[in-house]
Symmetry: C2
Subunit: 532 residues, 2 copies
């Protein structure tokens, strides 16, 4: 069934003589299929096709792009159970989770289609001419966002659907009007091929240009690097480890003549602030909630709560005990792939062996079965503040408790935090008042502040920010989840005194798209009326 | 009158033992005042003060920030004629131009104040909770833009007011809620001190925190680099040469642990497309318009038209003749400083001496008087396409005509262009139809497309895009002129299930600021009503 090709535009291509295979942590064996690594020429051809396709695709009407995205969603469903089964084998994730993730992925495509139909996302801004202004007249100036060109997408192993081949980066780049070239994730090459077949079918059905979508197979160090360096690539979307993300960022900064936006979502330990009144009232419920979040999906979420801040009091001690007890009852669960599993045990061990760190619960090493067991570690505020190495992400079901002597030292500990995707505040309203400075410090480090809930679970909606200050991402100005993600792959263009017949629809006087626009500084979805 | 200090927060500081002086091209002498180069400790102190000030300043209400910006504008006017006189001496620019530029600078501050009063620029997006949604409820999610922290500003020599100490970068960074540290431009250190005194007085009057604004004196290579590398700096605004801009960009990319946004507006040759029907009808008027734009301010505008594309026909020949004749009648004019002047003659000579380039008019070298004389050069489409060196910016009153044999070769020449701030189309509607592909190619390379007008003259308004693909800027997603410039110095933050009392004003249910918001995907300035 799986052929192991690269998809160069609409053409299957397998010119190379190197192959990759996928190891399944659930089957505990290497899967039989061979996937052919793309040659340098195939990568070039993919970018060339994308560059040519861009000239057509950027002018495809928003409505047709919306239908295209919806068709991708339909085609993904049409792949059927095969997709789920293959992803289970390749990611070790359970069926229910993958079925849900597929729904999220198709929902995401449909939400971008909705955004295109609504149309206001192009941020049309119009300043009408002031021919009689003194000392100089003002020209007619009209601005909107336009797509930037071929986007290279690097998916994540932990979301083989939603953050990979046809995931959020691809959906938002295509929605904006850009062709996409995916560097297929080495851990789920079969899933990638199946997903790509859905995109390819949608391109065919909707008459989109050849080159609107391609994928190439290979390592990050060779195939990925070639993509990142290619002058035809105009932006990069990446989700994965800090090391891989920074390698892409550095390659883009230093090995390209032309700098491009690099949106790498990388590393986050998602601090949780556990406030005293709340723990005093309700430490059990908080412990249950936290244990669920720490171990969800074997802790393999970028929003996994990796560090918990609390005051040194009785309620905190009770919370820690309860949390340890709950974690001890969570069985080790299959991890995504051997590399993720080995890395988990290695980084957990490295954290635990720090002399300032004490172990509260430490599940046994289950690396031989590729399963991750939970762990809970503890450190003092002073030690946390003085040693940034304690902030290294441990990707898996482990969390570090930081016990704070005073509110002042808690504040200092929070101020010492690096940038994060999320920060959570578990507290009564009274706590929120009392710890206002701590919450402000936390908020200044994160892309999303969660109140009285866990950070895992990222809603795909308009208001979502899945991003945050470095090292959570390389670009805190953006989100990789939600409709605002489309803004990563556009740039503004201003048209000055453009004859009306040649204006794009979004900027025409009669506002044929009916979108919200900023007209002479005021928002309106009305047409422009000129005084006679 | 001038003291030559650094301004570290509100304090005058002159700890260093190195001095800078300013050479006046109009007085043709070194001005007597000594300006004390900042020490490393002074720069550190400026950043530390800014970091502390940020904690207060970011929470100053938009209304108070608006008054602050307006007060800066008032204080600039209060400096009076002294400011104009000093700037004339330091920049060689004439009084009328500088009086106009001062108006532009105060107008810019007032426009940002207006933007803050209107308030919608924070892009509030609200998705209300769906507690009954299946399979999972949706949380209440609310997003808005927040300031990012201390911004380092590097001004330009050619706009000593509007793109310097209290210019667009400073105004937009302060408007967004960020403290600013200016690296004083070495060519107008006295002007900088006078401008800074206005900002300082406004801080005092409005009770803004110490550290909201500082400036430091020194070279780009030492003082500038220390600022760029400083961990406390969260973004950089720069306007100037390609070399200086790229040096900042590379330092920020490679010598910082934490990447930050670098908005460098650098180099642009502002292509002008001169279309045949228009030239046939009206070549004289076009020549007059172009001659004015090429020589305006001795050609020292980042939007100066440096390359003109036209077809190889009689009307084009007539245009070239007329333009050469007009340029020959424009006397050499004082340039900003010796470096700019020497660089002009050097880069003009380098272009003229290319074997493919012919000289149409070549004003005599007036470098000894620091004056720039116009020049008009010519090259074939084929030569232009094959040699990217012909695209190097010649900063001054010179322009290169590219004569195109066919529409196809014109298209190819335009496709070979690097990124630009502006592209102009001089044509009848018939031309615009006939050359649609050429205009599309041009548009894909620029931040602003100007129809039937010159690119010089950048309106400060809502729809302006003063930016563009590399090497025009390092970040084509942004503009450095107009209200959208504020978006460079912010990042989005999402609040999930934040108790209503703790929400910022912009996100509260009753919309107390009356701003335009996106509510469940629809734009509205209404309050949020909940079904009971």
């Amino acid at each position: 069934m799986l052929k192991g090709y690269n998809l160069i535009g609409q053409a299957e291509s397998a010119e190379g003589d190197q192959v990759l295979q996928v190891f399944s942590t659930v089957a505990q064996e290497t899967l039989p299929e061979n996937f052919i690594v793309a040659t340098a020429e195939e990568i070039d051809e993919a970018v060339n096709k994308a560059t040519i396709a861009f000239e057509t695709y950027k002018n495809v009407s928003p409505l047709r792009r919306a239908v295209f995205l919806e068709t991708i969603a339909e085609e993904i469903m049409a792949v059927g159970d095969l997709l789920i089964q293959r992803a289970m084998l390749e990611s070790g994730l359970p069926e229910g989770r993958l079925t849900g993730e597929r729904g999220r992925t198709t929902g995401q495509l449909k939400l971008f289609a909705e955004l295109l139909r609504e149309g206001s996302w192009v941020e049309a801004v119009i300043d009408t001419a002031l021919p009689d202004r003194k000392p100089l007249p003002r020209a007619d100036l009209r601005k909107m966002l336009v797509p930037i060109g071929p986007v290279a997408v690097f998916g994540a192993s932990n979301f083989p659907f939603a953050f990979s081949t046809a995931g959020g980066d691809t959906a938002s780049a295509l929605a904006a009007g850009n062709p996409v070239i995916v560097k297929a994730h080495e851990a789920h090459l079969g899933t990638n091929e199946l997903m790509a077949s859905a995109v390819r079918a949608a391109i065919e059905k909707c008459g989109m240009p050849d080159g609107t979508f391609s994928f190439v197979i290979g390592s990050g160090a060779v195939t990925g690097r070639q993509l990142v360096k290619h002058p035809g690539i105009k932006a990069i979307g990446f989700t994965g480890s800090f090391t891989a993300g920074m390698s892409i960022f550095k390659t883009a900064s230093n090995e390209r003549e032309t700098p491009i936006p690099v949106y790498a979502e990388m590393s986050s330990i998602n601090p949780v602030l556990l406030l005293p009144q709340k723990l005093q009232n309700d430490h059990e419920a908080v412990a249950i909630m936290l244990a669920g979040s720490v171990t969800l999906g074997a802790g393999q979420f970028c929003t996994n709560p990796g560090v918990l801040f609390l005051m040194d009091d009785e309620a905190s001690a009770a919370l820690i005990n309860k949390l340890a007890e709950l974690l001890a009852n969570v069985p080790a669960a299959p991890m995504l792939n051997p590399a993720v599993c080995n890395n988990y045990y290695k980084s957990r061990q490295s954290l635990a062996s720090d002399e300032a760190v004490t172990t509260i619960y430490y599940g046994e090493d289950n690396a031989s079965a590729y399963k991750g067991s939970p762990a809970l570690l503890q450190v003092s505020d002073a030690a946390f503040i003085s040693n940034p190495a304690l902030q290294h992400e441990v990707f898996g079901p482990a969390s570090l408790v930081v016990v704070c002597k005073t509110r002042a030292s808690m504040l200092q500990a929070l101020q010492s935090l690096q940038g994060q995707l999320t920060g959570s505040v578990i507290g009564e309203n009274k706590d929120i008042e009392n710890f206002a400075d701590c919450i402000a410090a936390l908020s200044s480090k994160v892309g999303r502040v969660v109140y009285n809930n866990i950070p895992t679970g990222v809603e795909v909606c308009h208001a979502m920010v899945h991003g945050g200050p470095f090292p959570a991402t390389t670009d805190a100005r953006s989100t990789s989840v939600g409709t605002e993600a489309i803004k990563r792959f556009v740039r503004p263009v201003c048209l000055q005194d453009c004859p009306h017949d040649f204006l794009p629809e979004a900027l025409k006087n009669d506002n044929p798209l009916g979108i919200m626009r900023k007209l002479n500084g005021q928002y309106t979805n009305e047409m422009i009326e000129f005084e006679s």
